[in-house]
Symmetry: C2
Subunit: 208 residues, 2 copies
């Protein structure tokens, strides 16, 4: 698979084009705008081909979900070229970066959340991805502040993700950029706060 010598340089890999078209339509018009015909049209492909690569419409949407989840996970991926502190700070700041704060991505995320809320099957995929993302944030925190218990890292990660989700959502509603910047600073405060071991923490002992 992959011997297209001179295919005018753009007609390659129609399966990806179909998935990309589905993502585009979903972000622009919501799930009701994603019909097999519309996807085919957007991808410049015959209707039958969409069902050739994706058995169901469900499969197509699942593939879209997986794709976005994968992208989300990369936000908290390890980067050995940076110190733990820098890694964490970079990850926290990237959620308001130009790559992510585009209407396309935000809208896509929103529609996928709505979809997951309406459909049991998508919900499981989404919840699993959310957990992996949360774990990723917690791991970054743990690396940057090894004196914290894992439980407290998860707590901080949960608090950070609440704010991040809020930023993503509120960006779509047109809140000013200054508020986003303040919110990012807030996530950094949470992440780098000195250990205290709030309620169920055995990490407080270690500090003495």
């Amino acid at each position: 698979m992959g011997t297209n010598t001179v295919n005018s340089g753009e007609q390659i890999d129609r399966q990806s084009r179909i998935l990309e078209a589905a993502l585009d339509l979903l972000s622009r018009h919501g799930i009701s705008g994603v019909s097999m015909r519309a996807v085919a049209r957007e991808a410049g492909v015959a209707l039958g081909l969409v069902n050739y690569y994706y058995d169901d419409k469900t499969s197509l949407i699942r593939a879209a979900l997986h794709r976005v989840d994968e992208q989300d996970l990369q936000l908290v991926a390890r980067d050995p070229s940076l110190t733990p502190d820098e890694q964490l700070r970079k990850a926290l700041r990237r959620v308001a970066g130009a790559e992510l704060l585009t209407t396309r991505y935000l809208s896509l995320r929103l529609h996928l959340w709505a979809l997951a809320q309406a459909d049991e099957g998508y919900a499981e995929i989404n919840a699993a991805a959310f957990d992996r993302y949360l774990d990723g944030v917690a791991a970054l925190v743990s690396n940057a502040k090894p004196e914290l218990s894992w439980e407290e890292c998860r707590e901080r990660a949960a608090d950070i993700v609440v704010i991040q989700n809020g930023m993503w959502l509120t960006s779509l509603l047109g809140v000013d950029n200054a508020s986003i910047q303040r919110s990012i600073a807030r996530t950094e405060e949470i992440a780098f706060l000195p250990s205290r071991g709030s309620s169920s923490g055995d990490a407080a002992l270690r500090e003495l």
Copy 2:
């Protein structure tokens, strides 16, 4: 309009029943689950009656949007029986109250956001309601802390709303309740913080 003597006590006001059915379906199955026939079935009413009370499917959805927006606005409504401090604190805590933290409301809000993102017409309604809500929060802050400039109140309101939206959204994904409580405490901190006049604030001068 309104002379139903003994109508078995439940068949009254079919228009509201239709709207309620639409809200229910929207929260449970998303926009694709809201068909005129499904709404009619859910409301126990003939198909034609839905189009009798609501010209369009669009009108029906618009009515649903307005209804939820109205409910949101009441969260930040004035309550003369409380001191400004209590009013603000109560409003901030109510977003995690049992009435609101139900799947039905959260899911509804999510689907309406998604709808507004996909459709220009709904977007305007939603943006206007969002602005009114933000103004409401800012007004509560201003009442509780009259020494703040109106601009700084809006700033704080914006920051608070980011976290609130995050709480609502993250609740749907199943984050633990403890994180919600910490996030609420965070909104209270923001609201009651002593004046400092961060960047564009002329309120900082007043503190000396």
